[in-house]
């Protein structure tokens, strides 16, 4: 085997081998989650019709980008999730309290059926803010969900300002929503 042939062959093979070597150092299953300081992953999700008999209330689908300029609170929940029951009153109360300040609340249903969600909300006193459907859990994946409940607060510029894996309390929500509102005002 001539040396020249070996050198040519190595030169040709090198890029592919280098790629594989680099690839071995990376983890294909790691997906960077939405963490505070980073832009919130965008979504456009269908809104669940709480009352199937009634006229569908506007909007029928929700796009996160449309709410730039508002502080947005997104809560991932499911009817089969026990801690979600604990935190729901806090979320409802916070939604009521900050409605006038333009803070928008969304609940995103995770791995559940619409029928169960309606029943759960009815038990919990009705729908306080829109419930969004996430088929295939794409949005949940984008937000790095490791379980439910998880709550994400997005400031007016579309940056994630707070993320909580687990139950939120009213105090916590108040504190973090105030922080998000203040930050946006400073910037403005």
């Amino acid at each position: 085997m001539k040396l020249r042939s070996v050198l040519i062959a190595t030169a040709v093979a090198l890029p592919l081998l280098a790629l594989f070597l680099r690839g071995l150092g990376m983890d294909p299953r790691y997906i960077p989650p939405a963490i505070p300081g980073q832009p919130a992953p965008p979504f456009e999700l269908e809104r669940m019709a709480y009352d199937p008999e009634a006229e569908p209330s506007e909007p029928t689908s929700v796009r996160l980008d449309d709410y730039l300029g508002h502080v947005v609170v997104v809560n991932f929940w499911a009817s089969w999730c026990i801690p979600c029951r604990q935190e729901h009153p806090a979320l409802v109360a916070a939604a009521e309290r900050y409605r006038d300040q333009g803070v928008v609340f969304f609940g995103i249903l995770y791995q559940d059926q619409v029928r169960n969600a309606r029943r759960w909300l009815a038990e919990m006193g009705g729908e306080a803010y829109p419930t969004l459907l996430d088929p295939g859990s794409r949005t949940a994946i984008d937000y790095g969900l490791t379980g439910v409940p998880e709550t994400v607060i997005i400031d007016r510029d579309g940056i994630v300002s707070y993320k909580r894996n687990g139950v939120v309390t009213l105090d916590l929500l108040v504190r973090e929503i105030e922080a998000a509102l203040a930050r946006s005002e400073e910037a403005a």
Partner: protein, 672 residues
């Protein structure tokens, strides 16, 4: 004890392989045939050692010897005996142990069958196979050691992955795959032997022709078995997801198919030598690449085995294989120039050349799609996934073009086709194509490529069947035989050719099955209460009768009894199930499938009311012509068996030595 025995045999096999490689090198250099002969012995001894190691492992699995690390990993007292035996290949270490055995068997057989051939070609091939063997045995005594010792000895194990215990096809798919993958090592080794020894005529091709056909057919059957398994187990009615591991098995199949056809041109016309060497080298390297992709954790896949350091070992082996092969090819450039040249565009040679190009393009497309996520992350740091939309868009036109070639190839003669031959060969298939295209549009098919797929399927079908028809007709006119006798004698007179046409028919059946089941698939999902019916396209009605549960040692099963009605009359029972294996929270589905030639009725149990079993959610699919995919796979296998049959020798004694030479070399058709 088993651990020591197993590890010992593998260590000896590794050492002997190293010795064998050196022995061949020294034996050829210094002209010492006894060294070369000792390397042959190594091949036989290694086969014995690997057989011993594999039997030891099976024994350890069956007797639940949890002191052996692999048994502790995949064994369980509650797994049925059948699945315990096949758990030999259910995880990384055991599968490499099994691979090692298949490789040792092939090496020993290759060496034995060609032991009388003089010259350096066979010893070089033996050395190449020993190099490959040394690599795998090194893995087995290193990072992929299945015979590690476990202390303290556990009382029980977790059992094999539930996905692997859920269906009988799990017994069939991996062994077929390994027989195919590893089988490609033999023609590769002979190609390297040819490059090393300088014997670059078609000798290496003729010697390995049967190996290639056999390995190719195992690979084909393995892929179809994998598709069937996915269909019967995964619950979404699909059989191919362009998962990296599926692609890993498909790419060598594509290049091997190109190689199978392209060697005919070299044998006949002494052309395409570089193509052939390139194709078989690519096939082998793609098999190693495939193993690398699935075992290194470099791509995310449903199939992927564990990670760890083994990826680096495979990368090293790929590096050596790739560089050595390219260097050998580059070094022999002069000697590989073609003797013949293309006579005319309208000839079988052209078809085979286009075939090579299309299949290579196909392979490259699949490779690009599979590797792109790695490239994107390495270069730009972004996570992307490449899925069915990319692959379907890029490969469907190629598949349709290949279907067309399957029809054109048999119809065109070698060297040059006269206008008359073109007319006789192509007009009937073309007429069938136009007819079927018209019918498809009438029946509502609107997608361009689907219509083309049906049309070219008909084209290829008529062209290949025509070959049988004209052959039988000619024999009947010449010998006055009955139809079946004529057919049998026709096939025996040229088994390679008619085996090939049979395999074509199998591919056509698969293509039509895939096209029909993808285009005309109907899906319904509903939650039914007990006694409620669901109407499904195709004239079917399903009635949910009862939910039941059963406890088995290794799993808890929940099933639904469903009665199927066709046109109002009872037509059978189906029982889709959910299997809850110990140690996993997600259940595995066993869909219930009612297969008929016209369509499959496919029912999956998605969910059920846990309180009283009064309702259950079903996913129902009606997929036309799916069964033809599996039947097509079987026909491909049949074609390969036919192609491997020995040629029927002419009994005419007056022809003498000339005919004997033709008969034993099997060098293709006698007439041009």
């Amino acid at each position: 004890m088993i651990s020591t025995l197993g590890f010992g045999t593998l260590a000896i096999a590794f050492a002997l392989s190293i010795y064998g490689i050196i022995a061949v090198a020294v034996g050829l250099r210094r002209r010492r045939p006894e060294f070369v002969r000792s390397a042959e012995m190594v091949a036989y001894v290694n086969f014995g050692l690997l057989t011993l190691a594999n039997l030891a492992m099976v024994y350890a699995l069956v007797t639940h010897d949890f002191s052996v690390s692999y048994v502790a990993q995949v064994g369980s007292r509650s797994t049925p005996l059948f699945f315990t035996v096949i758990s030999l290949w259910s995880a990384l270490e055991g599968s490499i142990l099994f691979w090692g055995w298949v490789l040792a068997a092939y090496t020993a057989a290759a060496v034995y069958l060609h032991r009388d051939r003089p010259g350096p070609l066979v010893p070089c091939a033996n050395a190449t196979l020993l190099v490959i063997g040394a690599f795998f045995y090194m893995l087995l005594i290193g990072p992929a050691n299945p015979f590690g010792r476990v202390w303290p000895v556990p009382l029980d194990g977790p059992g094999p992955n539930p996905l692997l215990q859920n269906h009988l096809l799990m017994a069939v798919h991996p062994p077929l795959l390994y027989l195919g993958y590893v089988g490609m090592s033999v023609p590769f080794a002979f190609a390297v032997g040819a490059l090393l020894s300088g014997e670059l005529d078609d000798g290496w091709i003729r010697m390995t022709r049967r190996w290639t056909i056999a390995a190719w057919s195992f690979l084909s059957l393995a892929i179809v078995a994998g598709m069937w398994w996915a269909y019967e187990v995964l619950g979404w009615g699909g059989y191919w997801g362009w998962d990296p591991v599926e692609n890993a098995s498909f790419m060598p199949w594509l290049t091997a198919t190109a190689f199978l056809h392209s060697v005919m041109v070299q044998e006949r016309r002494d052309m395409l030598k570089v193509w052939n060497l390139g194709l078989i080298v690519s096939t082998f390297l793609l098999t190693i690449l495939g193993t690398f992709l699935t075992r290194s954790g470099i791509v995310s896949s449903v199939h992927a085995f564990a990670q760890g350091t083994i990826g680096y070992y495979f990368l090293g082996f790929i590096a050596i294989g790739l560089i050595a092969s390219l260097a050998l090819l580059a070094g022999r450039g002069e000697a590989l120039r073609s003797e013949g040249a293309l006579d005319a565009v309208a000839s079988r040679e052209t078809v085979f050349l286009v075939n090579n190009l299309l299949l290579t393009a196909f392979t490259f497309t699949v490779l690009l799609g599979t590797l792109f996520p790695i490239v994107a992350e390495a270069v730009r740091g972004v996570k992307v996934s490449v899925g069915a939309p990319f692959f379907n868009r890029m490969t469907v036109p190629l598949c349709v073009a290949l279907l067309f070639l399957i029809g054109v190839g048999p119809a065109l003669p070698w060297r040059r086709a006269t206008a008359d031959q073109l007319r006789r060969g192509l007009v009937p298939p073309a007429a069938a194509a136009v007819l079927v295209a018209g019918l498809s549009v009438v029946f509502g098919v609107r997608a361009f490529y689907t219509v083309l797929a049906f049309a070219f399927g008909a084209f290829a079908l008529v062209a290949n069947v025509n070959e049988f028809v004209t052959g039988v007709r000619a024999r009947r006119r010449a010998h006055g035989e009955g139809v079946l006798t004529a057919l049998a004698r026709l096939v025996r007179s040229n088994p390679r050719r008619y085996g090939g046409y049979t395999a074509h028919l199998g591919v056509i059946a698969m293509a039509i099955g895939i096209a029909a089941s993808s285009t005309f698939k109907e899906e319904r999902q509903a939650t039914l209460r007990v006694g409620e019916r669901l109407a499904v396209p195709g004239g079917f009605e399903l009635r949910f009768d009862e939910l039941w549960a059963a406890e088995e040692p290794r799993r808890f099963v929940v099933g639904a009894d469903v009665t199927v009605f066709r046109e109002g009359r009872e037509a059978g029972q189906l029982a889709p199930r959910l299997n809850y294996y110990r140690g996993t929270d997600q259940p595995l589905t066993t869909p219930a499938v009612r297969s008929r030639p016209k369509q499959d009725l496919y029912v999956t149990l998605m969910a059920f009311d846990e309180r009283d079993g009064s309702s259950a959610t079903f996913l129902v699919l009606v997929e036309p012509l799916v069964i033809w995919i599996w039947i097509g796979g079987g026909i491909i296998g049949l074609g390969a068996v036919i192609a491997l049959l020995p040629r029927r020798r002419r009994r005419d004694a007056t022809l003498g030595p000339a005919s004997a030479r033709f008969a034993t070399s099997g060098a293709g058709e006698v007439a041009g």
